[in-house]
Each structure stands twice: as C-alpha cells, then as structure tokens.
Symmetry: C2
DNA sequence: TTGTAAGCGTTATCAA
DNA sequence: TTGATAACGCTTACAA
C-alpha cells in the first residue's frame, strides 16, 4: 500500500499556480518566470515532493526500466555480467529490473510476462530457453512475440529460426584454446566434465573438444565425456567416477569453474597432485578461479564486458538505431597453476 | 519507447461490452455472464492482450515491487541473500527491484530516491550507510523520511538513533565462536585482517576479537590488527605485511571469506602450510569457503535465511501487521581444514 | 509566461 | 449482469 502522497495539485495550490506550471518546473520543459519557479521549488523542497513515476510513465510511455533475466545468482558469472550491464545502464539513465529465473522455464515465462506488463523498455536475456538445443516452439514464440514490441538482446544464446540481436563470447574458441594448451603440454588423454547435452553452451564446448582431439589425431572416447550439470557437486561426482576407471585421462576440460573446482577437490581428496598427476581447466574466470589453490587455468568470457556490450546494444535498439545482429567477444586464455 | 498497445477499450469494443466488463473478467472482481466472459477471454487471448500494470498500479496504489539495495554483487554473500529474498518474494507475490549501489553513498541516495518515485511497496536495505559507524545525519534522515511512507527492513545494519525493523546475524557471536575455536586449538597469538574501522560489521567482529583475547588472558596487540577493505587483495596485502614482522600471529581471524582467501594465498605463496604453520578463518561461508583448498573454516550467516526472513518481515510490515523490531539469526561455526 | 483541459490505461462507484 | 463515468497523478496541446 502506498502513501497517500502529495501531488502536483497540492504543490500548485500552495503556490497559487496551475499544475501545468508545476510540471514545467519539474521537467524544465518550458520557460517559467524565475520568481514563480523559485516559489514552486521551495514548496517542492519543503514537502519533499517526489512526482509519481507511474503516472509520468503512463503518459510519456517511458519507464526507464530494463528487464534482465538470468538463471542463477549463485553462479558468480551472472552477477558479474549484470554488474557490467548495471554500470552501463546507469550511465544511460536506465534502471535494471533483475529477475532470477532459477533456471526454471515456467518462472522464466512468468517473469517475461510480468516484465512486459510492467512496460520495461528492453530486455536482456540470459540462460534458460535461449540455451536450449531443443526449445519447445511455444517458448520460442513467447519471446518472438514480445520482441515485436520490446527490443531484446540475448546474451550467450540464440533463438533457433528467429534472428535476434545477440552478444556472445566465442565459447567454441575458448574451449579450443584450452584444448590446444593442454595438448601442447603433452596431454594425450583428455576428459570432459559437466554441463548437459541439452544446452547449447555445453554443446559448443563439446564440439570444440571433439574437433581438437580429431585435429590432433587423438581418439575420442565416449566414456571420457561425463556430463551432469553446472555445479561443484557435479565436478566432484564425475571426477570420482573417473577415478574408478582403469584407464583415465591425464587432463580435464570442465564446463565451468564450478565444475572444475569440484573436480579438483575430488582429485585432491584422492591424494592426486594438481597439475602433476592431473591437469584441470575451468571456464568463465569467475573469482573462484584465481582464488583457488592451485589457481585454476580457465578462459575469461569478460563477463562485465559482455553485460556492458549487451546493454549498449539494447539502448541503441531502444533509440531505434540500426545495430548489427551479432556481436562476438573474444575469450582470453588464462593459464594458471592447475595445468602446468 | 513502448508499444502502442491495445487497451481494454479495444477489447471492449470488439466484444461489444463496456470497459468495466472487461476489467471485471480481467480481475474477477464481479460476476460476469459466462457467455460474455468467454467471448471477452477469447478476444483477450487472440490479441495476446496484457493489461498495463502502470495504469493499474496508479489506481489501486499497489505496484507489487520491493526495492533491494545492496552494496556489491561481486561479493557472493549478497547474491545469496537476495536469492533467499527473491524466493520468498515470489511466494508472496512480490517482485524484487535489485539495486547495486557499488558501495557508493551518492548512488545509494539516487536509488533510494528512484525506488520511492517508482512506488515500491517496501525496501530491503543492505550495506552502505546502515553499516557506517559515523553516518552523516543527512543520510540517516533520507532513510528516516522514506520510512515514514514505505516500510523498510535493514539487513545486518542499523540507523543509530532511529529504531528500524532489522534482521541481522549475530556477528559478534560468530566472531566469538571462531576465536574460541582458535584458542581451543592452542593458538595464543591471533591476528585480525580486513574490514574498515568505519563499518559496524568490522567493529562488531573486532570487539569480539578483543574481548575473546581478554577473556583468555591473551594480550591485544594493535599491530596485529590490520584492516583495509573487504577484498581478496586486502587479505593478500595484509598477510604479506604480517610476514615481514619479526613476531607474528599463528592464527588469523579475517573479516570475510574473500579476505581470508587472499590471506591464505599470500601465506601459501610464501611457502607456509595451512593450517600447520598458520591457521586462517573467514566469515560468511560463501561458496568460496568450501571450494578452497584447504577448505576454509568460517561462520555461516545463513545468507539465504537472512534474505528470506527480511522479506517475510517486510511483507508483514506492508500488511500493517505488528512485527518485532529486531530479529537475530544465530551464526553457525563451520570448522574446516584451514584451522585444524 | 501561465492556465485549462484532454489524455495515458486502468479500476471502482453508481445506477440501470 | 452490465454500462457510464469519475478517479489515479502526471504531461502537454492549445489558448490566453
């Protein structure tokens, strides 16, 4: 329940002017005699009057809000991305409306709906359906439909069959860089841990993994690819499984830093030394990577940049400027202790 | 710029009814003949009509939005807290409006202002001025003034001289538990790292630190307290300083997990073993703590709980229920490898 | 330089 | 069960 607040009418009455004049000094939208302006300002000050943005937005059809959908605030990667987006938004005069979908499709739909109703001026979309390799058409259509009215920028994802504005890191390249690094260090048996077959981000890395093996005449073994999810728990569990295998890889490419750290911990608790006995690489360069001991070799997605770029592009879209559909950021290989 | 959307009028016209009737089926606020209801529903469906929440909020004075101020999305503790708050909010039918103040007071003021203008129904406040030991009165007044109109719940902070609804972890107790643990393990020389003298959270821990020393007849040495900030960099830097000292502590109480990890890394890079040569304890039990190697002894603030509780209390406040002013959560000591 | 009045897209009060 | 119509708090032609 909101305050029974004072309105422009109250201010106008007290200043013996019309609401129009009050509005004028509020928005500096037309000349007002200095004396009346000052009188009005004083009264506004005195009552600590704040115009109701709802009413204002209703007439000028601008809310200054950008909706942001992301799958999981407990994976540092996402807070990093929307940290970057937020800084950019602030400069541009927008406020972010952050929505944690908890990777739940129906929650995603609800938020999508709610953000539209709330009249956000644009949408930044991460995770969920835009990373699904077999996204039900109904879910795609929801987004397509919204996009007719509200500009959307997809981050690290896509909507198959429907061109969208997208900003992404070249994850394929990132995985390739890591593979090459491992291979250059003499590893011939390399495993893959984490992610789900259903997600595009996993698929992309897996492709790079396979092709790198092929390109280096190394054999691809299905039992050396152990997916699961994106958590530390997954890394730990899968590494434990690898430990039971008679013949196991000497190096592991992990879906992300969390998985990598789980894998590291499992290996360490079995008495293995990293990187001497086993090399492990992560992805994303979240704070965790450099915090670890040994420090984790990983690939930076430049998460803040990613958020910033997406926001910049979105703002151009809102201004109805032409922007190229796809922006690709180049990842950076960060070689640290866990692989050499 | 928003869509020139279709309105209840368009629906009404097409259905040959009045807007009132459309509104009735939309809100189920009065009986409508089944046939007309169906007719209207069909048209709504067909056009994918979404009522404008702005207009709706304007009349019923409810936005369903809760503003959340927090200092830093790159410290996992805060995303964890608002993760908990968000889940609770969802159940209660509220949407969170997350605002990253980047620990900047003026940004905090701006957001405070913006959230009020946006007519949020309540405010969750973390960091910044509510953790300042000498908060300028102007900043306090800003909050006090807002509080007259909008319910506010402070998380782990307070507004000196102005009773507010607060949810907090007993950080004093938490620090005490850690100290006792270290002392029980035979440590007689214990240092303190991180935080700033200006913040209440640091002060509280420092108090516990000093009193624990006193209670155990251990001497307090000013040069064994090295503050700074809340970052890994700080932990690293201060530990490096400790390393230069002729006589140094055998154990360290750190302001938070980030500082502790920085300290750990500095110690390790100097060839010290943890915990054999030096014991290190953190605070907050962020994901980092259990990810580390060795795993970090720390204190859980039950961050999700904290967010959840705060949201629950806020919602009661919004419903104008009576709620006790102060809710204290008990921290939990988590003894891990870094201290034993 | 200022005021009047018509919107913005809803909901809610009265009558019918 | 329905329909006019007045709010909600603001901006903005259009007039004065």
């Amino acid at each position: 329940m909101l305050l029974e607040s004072i309105t422009v009418y109250d201010i106008a009455r007290e200043a013996n002017v019309s609401v129009a004049t009050v509005s004028r000094v509020l928005n500096d939208t037309a000349p007002v005699r200095t004396s009346t302006r000052q009188k009005i300002m004083a009264i506004i000050e005195k009552h600590n009057f704040q115009p109701n943005v709802l009413a204002r937005s209703l007439v000028n059809k601008k809310t200054g809000m950008i909706g942001v959908l992301f799958p999981d605030s407990s994976n540092m990667f996402f807070p990093e991305v929307f940290g970057g987006a937020e800084r950019a938004a602030q400069k541009l005069g927008y406020t972010l409306f952050l929505c944690n979908t908890f990777s739940d499709c129906s929650r995603e739909s609800e938020y999508l709906n709610s953000l539209c109703e709330r009249q956000v001026e644009g949408l930044l979309f991460m995770g969920g359906r835009i990373n699904s390799r077999h996204c039900p058409d109904a879910l795609v259509q929801e987004v397509v439909h919204i996009q007719k009215k509200i500009p959307i920028v997809l981050i690290n994802g896509s909507l198959p069959g429907h061109p969208c504005h997208r900003v992404k890191t070249d994850e394929y390249l990132g995985a390739q860089l890591l593979m090459q690094h491992l291979i250059d260090h003499g590893h011939r048996r390399i495993g893959f841990i984490g992610g789900t077959a259903e997600t595009t981000t996993t698929f992309e890395k897996l492709q790079a993994y396979k092709r790198s093996l092929l390109a280096n005449s190394l054999s691809y073994r299905q039992d050396w690819v152990r997916l699961g999810d994106f958590s530390m728990a997954c890394g730990r569990k899968q590494m434990d499984q690898f430990m039971m295998m008679p013949e196991r890889p000497t190096a592991f490419l992990c879906m992300n830093d969390y998985v990598a750290i789980g894998a590291m911990k499992a290996a360490i608790s079995r008495g293995l030394r990293i990187p001497e006995d086993v090399a492990i690489a992560g992805f994303d360069d979240t704070q965790l990577a450099s915090a670890m001991n040994p420090e984790l070799t990983t690939v930076s997605q430049h998460s803040e940049q990613l958020g910033r770029q997406a926001m910049l592009i979105l703002s151009k879209l809102i201004q109805k400027e032409k922007v190229k559909k796809l922006t690709v950021l180049e990842p950076t290989l960060l070689i640290r202790q866990s692989t050499q």
